[in-house]
C-alpha cells in the first residue's frame, strides 16, 4: 500500500511539474526543436532544472543501498550502446518532432481533454504493443532492456 501511495504522490508531483514547465504545450516543445526558426529555449531550462536535481539527489539516494519501500533498485541492466537503442531513440525523435508530444506530456494533455492528445495516445500504445509483440516473436526474451 505504501508503495502505491508513494507512486501516486510522485506521479502527481511529476504531472504538476510538467504543467508548470510548459512542456505540455506542443508549441513550446516545437519552438525549442525549431533551431532554424524563432528558437524558444524554454525546454532547455526544463531539462536543466530536472537533470540538475536528479544528478544531485540520485547520488544521495543510491548511497543508501536500498529504497525505503522495496528491497532493491530496479534499473535496466543493459549497458550496450546497441542498434536497438539508437534506432529506437532516433525513431522516437521523429515522432516527437512531427507532433510536439512525448509520452509524459501527452498523457497530461489527454487528461486535460486536448483532442490531439486523445488521438495520439491510442496510436502510441498501439506502437509500443506492436514493438513488444515483434520482440517477443523474434527473440523470446520479453522485456529485455525495457525497464525505463
Amino acid at each position: 500500500m505504501k508503495r502505491i501511495l508513494a507512486a501516486g504522490f510522485a506521479g502527481a508531483v511529476f504531472g504538476i511539474g510538467l504543467a508548470i514547465s510548459g512542456m505540455t504545450d506542443p508549441n513550446v516543445v516545437l519552438g525549442f526543436l525549431d533551431v532554424a526558426g524563432a528558437w524558444d529555449p524554454s525546454l532547455a531550462f526544463v531539462m536543466l532544472g530536472a537533470v540538475a536535481t536528479t544528478t544531485l539527489l540520485f547520488r544521495l539516494v543510491l548511497r543508501r543501498g536500498r529504497p525505503v519501500f522495496d528491497p532493491d533498485f530496479h534499473f535496466s541492466m543493459s549497458r550496450a550502446l546497441d542498434r536497438r537503442l539508437v534506432v529506437g531513440a532516433g525513431a522516437f525523435g521523429v515522432g516527437w518532432g512531427l507532433s510536439g508530444y512525448c509520452p509524459g506530456p501527452v498523457l497530461v494533455g489527454a487528461a486535460a481533454g486536448a483532442w490531439t492528445a486523445l488521438v495520439f495516445v491510442p496510436a502510441m500504445l498501439a506502437g509500443a504493443w506492436l514493438q513488444r509483440r515483434m520482440t517477443r516473436v523474434a527473440s523470446m526474451t520479453p522485456g529485455r532492456g525495457q525497464t525505463e
Binding site: L33, T54, L62, F69, A89, G90, G93, C102, Q146, E148
Partner: protein, 141 residues
C-alpha cells in the same frame, strides 16, 4: 512568472518526483516504461503502482493545466498525429525510454546509454522539425 523561470521550476519538480520514486520505490520515473509495462502480463503489485503513478500524473497534471490555462493542443493534423503516435510508442519501447527515462533519470545516474539516446532523439527531433517547417512547402504538420 517569466516562462524560463517557470520552465526551471517545473523541471526541478520533475527531478524531485523522479528522486522520490527512486528513493521510496527504487523505480525509474520513465513515463514510457511505466505506461508500456502495463501492456505485458505482470503481478498485481506491478500493475498497481504503475496505475497509481500514471493516475497521479494525469489527474494532478490535468488539473494544473486547467488552473494555469495553458493549451495542450498539437498543431499537427490528425493523420500526422496517428503516425507520430505509432512512431513514438514503437521507438520508446524499442529504445527503452523517452525524455523522462533516458533524459531526466538516465542522465541523472550518468548512464552512457541514456546520454547517447538523449543526444540521438533531440537530434532527430530537431531534424524533423527543420524538414517540416523549412523544407516541405506548406509543411506536412
Amino acid at each position: 512568472m517569466h516562462p524560463w523561470l517557470s520552465a526551471l521550476l517545473g523541471g526541478v519538480l520533475i527531478g524531485v518526483s523522479a528522486t522520490l520514486l527512486l528513493w521510496l520505490n527504487g523505480r525509474i520515473a520513465g513515463i514510457s516504461g511505466i505506461a508500456f509495462g502495463l501492456l505485458q502480463r505482470s503481478g498485481m503489485g506491478e500493475w498497481a503502482w504503475r496505475i497509481a503513478f500514471l493516475g497521479g500524473l494525469m489527474i494532478a497534471g490535468g488539473i494544473a493545466l486547467h488552473v494555469i490555462g495553458q493549451s495542450a493542443l498539437s498543431p499537427a493534423r490528425w493523420p500526422v498525429l496517428v503516425v507520430a503516435g505509432l512512431i513514438v510508442g514503437y521507438g520508446t519501447s524499442l529504445g527503452g525510454g523517452c525524455t523522462s527515462g533516458h533524459g531526466v533519470c538516465g542522465i541523472g545516474r550518468l548512464s552512457k546509454r541514456s546520454i547517447v539516446a538523449t543526444i540521438v532523439f533531440v537530434a532527430t527531433a530537431m531534424a524533423t522539425v527543420y524538414v517540416v517547417r523549412h523544407v516541405v512547402p506548406g509543411g506536412v504538420a
